[in-house]
């Protein structure tokens, strides 16, 4: 077990005034077997009365509307999380599990991923968990991390074809391969120890348990990850989403820090 402190700051500066803005933020750690969040503090600017709720997958969300003109918007969420309390997460809602067996949105395999999958020869490996770990090890060797070459709409197949991408792409491709192997898999957004950006990884469902695997770092998820949200693909659990009237050009700054305490 490890105790982590996290600090998530996202700020947008606008070149012109924003008249109204709607926002949804999915950045509050979930509570489950592997992690327990505590001391969560939420700060928004311009200060507005926000609502708390859960989406269809029980991800926490903060949402609301700014009605006064502003040229800057930020949210700052801090807190602690005890992680690594268990090597897996429980199934929160067994009725939804079957959703994660089916390709959807950005995680669909095309010819190139299918070809790669066929070469992996997973038949010789008995358990689904071992298959997944084997794929993670192989894929880590075969795919490169390279920022700024993909965007939020890049599909697994596109990202695979170009041979490199970021954590989102690693996760989408990995899910596509898991689906080909008939292993239910889902996308996870979260934070990892260190300074930088938010992170993404994958959970696979084996024997009624969700196991976290981080294909970008070739690591099992245990002591270093804080889970914020889950979805079929990145679009289901975007950390923030907003719609504004006015604003002109946007400049976004994200600062994330996670450290052991």
């Amino acid at each position: 077990m490890t105790k982590l402190h996290f600090d998530y700051y996202m700020r947008i500066d606008y070149s012109e005034e924003v008249a109204t803005c709607n926002y949804t933020i999915k950045c509050i750690p979930m509570q489950n077997l592997r992690q327990i969040p505590t001391d969560i503090k939420i700060e928004l600017s311009p200060p507005s009365k926000y609502c708390l709720g859960k989406d269809g997958l029980k991800n926490n969300q903060i949402y609301g509307r700014n009605e006064l003109p502003h040229k800057m918007f930020y949210y700052h969420i801090t807190g602690n999380a005890e992680v690594g309390l268990c090597s897996y997460d429980e199934v929160e809602n067994s009725d939804i599990s079957m959703v994660f067996k089916h390709p959807h949105g950005l995680n669909k395999a095309g010819n190139k991923i299918t070809e790669y999958f066929n070469k992996l020869q997973l038949k010789d490996i008995d358990s689904d968990y071992d298959k997944a770990v084997y794929v993670m090890n192989r894929f880590y060797e075969d795919y490169d991390y390279q920022p700024l070459t993909t965007d939020l709409n890049t599909t697994a197949e596109e990202a695979f074809a170009q041979g490199h991408g970021v954590c989102q792409d690693f996760a989408h491709i990995f899910i596509a391969i898991m689906h080909l192997a008939n292993i239910p898999a889902r996308y996870v957004t979260g934070l990892i120890v260190g300074e930088g950006q938010s992170h993404a990884w994958v959970e696979i469902l084996v024997d009624g348990k969700w196991y976290g695997l981080d294909p970008t770092n070739n690591k099992k998820v245990l002591n270093e990850h804080i889970k914020l949200g889950v979805g079929r693909d990145a679009r289901d659990c975007m950390i923030n989403r907003g719609i504004m009237h006015g604003g002109g050009l946007h400049t976004q700054t994200v600062k994330v820090n996670v450290e052991e305490i």
């Binding site: 709607n22 009365k49 989406d55 079957m98 959703v99």
Partner: protein, 439 residues
């Protein structure tokens, strides 16, 4: 004799319809056209006992479809029990993950259902399609009846035809049943929407506000209507035609400009009713249609009163073989399409088209259903002063209020082309009033 008198007024009725703006809009090649919806004065007549049978069957079907929707967005028991395969739910574009675990007020998903039927030459009624995403069309026979009465009152003097102007009351009762406290509004995407006439007509007849997205606003988990003076008044129920994807840019398609940000969050917390509930597309998919008789047995333990047209799912191997062997006798439908698009007749394809289609079917069997071509009864219409037979269907409207209600009328659509089976208004068809006799 009496009916003849009405027929003499066909032109008058059509002129009135045009003057009152009874039109529907269609997009062709990305431009918007508004068309008149040609009215034919010869009504479809349904006897009282025949309608009583239809009514029972329609209620049964809609009750089962509502139970199915509730099940799909919660326990999924029908999938776990193997009655409906997973592929037909989770690969369907109508399934919406955002709707998981959200219970609409009183568990009603499909408040307004439009069930399309045809009557075969054998006298048997067949269901062709279920429309559970706020189907349009009720306003046309309503207003046509009004004009027919006005132009030819003598026609109705001695006939025992069920009144159809009560649709507004039935609709209001359906809205009031789920209202959580506040105004009732009809949300329209605007005058460039196919059903704009209907929205404004129903708003007037039910006494509701007709609003567009910019007049509604979410604040503190409640929905408000902005009055002309800028005050906010609470909304308790929204009749909406805006499709699920465009309803709320914060929960669904982020590019929607016509939606209301966070309206689905309000719905999720039970602070407003949406008619119909989002997510219904998973139940009126043409692939799911095949399973509706099975749903009726599964949820209600009853035999279906109304039949589906004989349907095959190439997804199943036996059905796939049957479809290949009997290709020329079948009509094939793309499950994702609506409005008469994506429908092909096996015997009307060229050799190349057929080969291409068979290849597509082999690759994507889940995408199509195949049906026997039903030889349905023609209805007479007046075409250039001549009485000629044409293909016609019936859209019956079932409202789910405190109990299921079937409107004693319906929209009868016909094809103006003598060789066509496709009656959709978007494909140039016309309409008739539907008379249900009261005895």
């Amino acid at each position: 004799m009496e009916r003849l008198s009405l027929l003499e007024h066909t032109d008058t009725v059509n002129e009135l319809l045009a003057r009152y703006g009874v039109k529907f809009g269609i997009y062709k090649n990305n431009t918007f056209h508004e068309q008149l919806f040609p009215f034919d004065a010869i009504p479809r007549i349904i006897e009282a006992d025949e309608f009583e049978y239809l009514e029972k069957g329609l209620k049964q079907r809609v009750v089962a479809l509502n139970l199915f929707l509730k099940d799909i967005y919660s326990k999924k028991q029908i999938v776990k029990d193997g009655v409906v395969p997973e592929d037909f739910i989770f690969a369907s574009s109508g399934y919406m993950l955002e709707c998981e675990g959200v219970a609409p007020i009183k568990d009603i998903y499909s408040h307004i259902s439009g069930i399309d039927l045809v009557k075969g030459k054998d006298g048997v009624w067949y269901i062709l399609e279920d429309n559970l995403r706020v189907p349009s069309g009720a306003s046309y026979p309503m207003i046509a009846r009004e004009f027919c009465r006005r132009s030819s009152p003598e026609t109705f003097a001695n006939l025992k035809v069920e009144e159809n102007r009560d649709y507004a009351e039935l609709l209001r009762r359906t809205m009031d049943n789920v209202n959580v406290g506040g105004h009732t509004v009809i949300l329209t995407p605007g005058r460039y929407n196919a059903a704009y006439f209907e929205h404004s007509f129903l708003a007037e007849k039910t006494g509701c506000h007709l609003v567009n997205g910019s007049e509604l606003e979410v604040k503190d988990d409640k929905l408000y209507f902005k009055t002309a003076t800028g005050e906010l008044e609470r909304v308790g129920v929204v009749y909406r035609r805006i499709s699920d994807e465009y309803l709320d840019p914060m929960n669904f398609n982020p590019e929607s400009l016509i939606g209301i940000p966070h309206i689905y969050d309000v719905f999720r917390k039970g602070n407003v009713a949406l008619m119909n509930a989002p997510g219904n597309g998973v139940a009126d998919d043409k692939g799911i249609y095949y399973f509706v008789p099975k749903m009726i047995k599964y949820y209600l333990g009853e035999e279906p009163i109304l039949n589906n047209a004989p349907t095959y799912l190439p997804f199943y191997e036996d059905d796939y073989k049957y479809v290949i062997d009997n290709f020329d006798n079948l009509v094939l439908k793309d499950v994702a399409e609506a409005g008469g698009y994506g429908v092909v007749f096996g015997n009307k394809m060229t050799k190349e088209q057929k080969a291409d289609f068979l290849e597509l079917l082999r690759k994507e069997p889940r995408r199509f259903i195949a049906q026997e071509v039903i030889d349905f009864q023609d209805l007479d219409i007046i075409d250039k002063n001549e009485q000629v037979p044409r293909k016609a269907d019936l859209r019956a409207f079932v409202l789910m209020a405190d109990e299921p209600l079937v409107w004693k009328s319906g929209l009868t659509r016909f094809s103006r082309n003598p060789d066509s089976f496709i009656v959709n208004s978007s494909q140039g068809g016309g309409f008739k009033d539907t008379w249900v006799l009261s005895r």
